[in-house]
């Protein structure tokens, strides 16, 4: 193995790293923004609202991300309606299509995660909020969502890592992310080990960084649930 090829071309990998980070972080943020209202409606909305949300989640969780991406990138061009509209300049771009597919995909998974954690809100918390005279909106904002977010964190951290790994599919539709960089190096120098092992190292480093940051966040968010160390000394009664 000859890793000097990699060192000479490391800038391609950093370009890829940049694209991976942008794709993953934008789709996670947008996905979360879509998922929160959907999860609330999925729990509290009437059935007219619930069915479309269920169908959305069912479709995006039940089909491979690759197929979703192909449907958008290759598929949308089939319709003259889209081709002639103002949307076409966006859907013509591989980058936008990948972003669009990733966002909808993570939105569906996150909706399902949040739906579960909202549903698991302890009754006592809701009763207490009602007893305190909160309106429904205030209750969702102050009591249900913060408590649900805490419960969702472990599952959501898995989703972040899945999204990071899923983003490697962007390389299939010509985007130079980390995997894309590896594929360029491999086809240029015919050196699969060096190319893909380097990509693997990049992904592992990001994965461990995410896991580390989430651990920190968990400590911060769950501080009130940690066993309290009582430092006061109780004097024996005289």
């Amino acid at each position: 193995m000859d890793f000097s090829i990699i060192l000479e071309n490391i800038s391609i990998y950093f370009e890829g790293l940049k694209n991976t980070v942008i794709l993953v972080s934008i789709s996670l943020v947008l996905g979360l923004m879509i998922a929160v209202p959907l999860a609330i409606l999925r729990n509290y909305g009437n059935s007219f609202v619930q069915y479309p949300i269920r169908a959305f989640v069912y479709f995006f969780r039940g089909t491979p991300l690759l197929v979703q991406m192909f449907l958008i990138y290759y598929g949308f061009g089939q319709f003259d309606l889209i081709k002639e509209s103002f949307l076409w300049p966006f859907f013509r771009e591989a980058y936008f299509c990948a972003l669009f597919a990733f966002t909808l995909n993570t939105a569906a998974y996150t909706t399902e995660i949040l739906r579960g954690s909202i549903k698991a809100t302890p009754h006592g918390e809701i009763e207490a909020a009602m007893a305190a005279g909160m309106s429904r909106f205030l209750m969702v904002k102050r009591i249900i969502l913060p408590s649900a977010f805490r419960r969702a964190l472990p599952a959501y951290s898995n989703e972040i890592i899945f999204m990071l790994h899923g983003s490697s599919l962007a390389s299939v539709i010509t985007i130079v992310d980390i995997t894309g960089a590896a594929r360029i190096i491999n086809s240029r120098f015919y050196s699969p080990y060096e190319a893909f092992l380097t990509a693997a190292v990049f992904y592992m480093a990001i994965t461990f960084l995410i896991v580390f940051l989430i651990k920190k966040l968990e400590v911060h968010w769950f501080a009130h649930l940690q066993p309290q160390v009582d430092k006061t000394v109780i004097e024996a009664p005289p």
Binding site: Y58, F59, G62, T63, P64, L65, L66, V67, Q68, F70, L71, Y74, G75, F76, G77, Q78, F79, I161, L164, H165, G166, S167, S168, L169, S171, V172, T179, A182, R183, N186, Y190, P192, Y193, F196, L197, A199, A200, Y203, M204, T207, F208
Partner: protein, 229 residues
């Protein structure tokens, strides 16, 4: 929109191949998973370290990168080892084997975690009772642990299987004619990509829906004798 222009049978063949890849990978994953779980729970430190490394590394790398590494890397490796063994022709690595071994290898890591949890969930007292009856270790595993761990392993196993089916879509990238690739070919010939990829998506939904139903039946079957909560 829903005319398949005669590509129906081709997509059907692809679906069969997708199912084959899924099932063979599942068998590989289960074998690796059970060995991994036993290694993680074994008394030997070296085995535990290897199993831990295996699961950590797999969960840190995307499936696609691993698949490309095994597919392209395996090609290079075989063609370097071939001449040493006296085989001079160029060898093409079979994408079916590359795909199945990659997917099996990846999901073996996830199965390891599932099976480890399931084995730990079996009541310790029963294992001790088995030993007290004079059963050998293998016999205790076969008669006491295995039938009971199935129930604990099923939910995690089911999840892994559903993710595994969707992962098989990746084999189309390394040139295996599964339904995603067949759809791509049909789309190229008819200029109707949305139609064909939608058909593939619906096929995946059908497979996962049927799987969920079968898994439910299995869960009920293996929960016989356990109090319903």
């Amino acid at each position: 929109m829903f005319s398949l222009h005669g590509y129906g049978p081709a997509i059907f063949d692809g679906t069969i191949l997708t199912l084959q890849v899924s099932l063979v990978s599942l068998i590989v994953a289960m074998l690796l998973g059970i060995s991994g779980a036993l290694a993680k729970l074994s008394g030997k430190k070296s085995l535990r370290v290897i199993a831990q490394l295996y699961t950590t590394i797999i969960r840190g790398i995307p499936d696609l990168v691993l698949m490309l590494l095994i597919f392209f890397g395996g090609q290079v490796l075989i063609n370097r080892v071939g001449p040493i063994l006296g085989y001079d022709e160029y060898i093409d690595i079979n994408p079916f084997i590359a795909g199945v071994s990659t997917i099996g290898f990846i999901f073996g890591a996830y199965m390891t975690e599932t099976f480890r949890g399931a084995i730990l969930a079996v009541n310790k007292g029963q294992l001790e009772a088995g030993t007290a009856y004079g059963m050998s270790k293998v016999m205790v595993f076969r008669r006491v642990t295995l039938p009971q761990m199935v129930r604990h392993a099923l939910p995690g196993f089911g999840n892994n299987w559903l993710v595994l089916i969707k992962t098989t879509a990746l084999v189309s990238i390394i040139g295996l004619d599964d339904m995603v690739r067949k759809a791509g070919m049909a789309a190229g010939a008819t200029r109707k990509p949305f139609t064909f990829y939608l058909v593939v998506a619906i096929n995946f939904l059908l497979i996962t829906t049927i799987s969920v139903y079968i898994l439910k039946l299995l869960e009920r079957r293996y929960s016989v004798g356990v109090k319903e909560m």
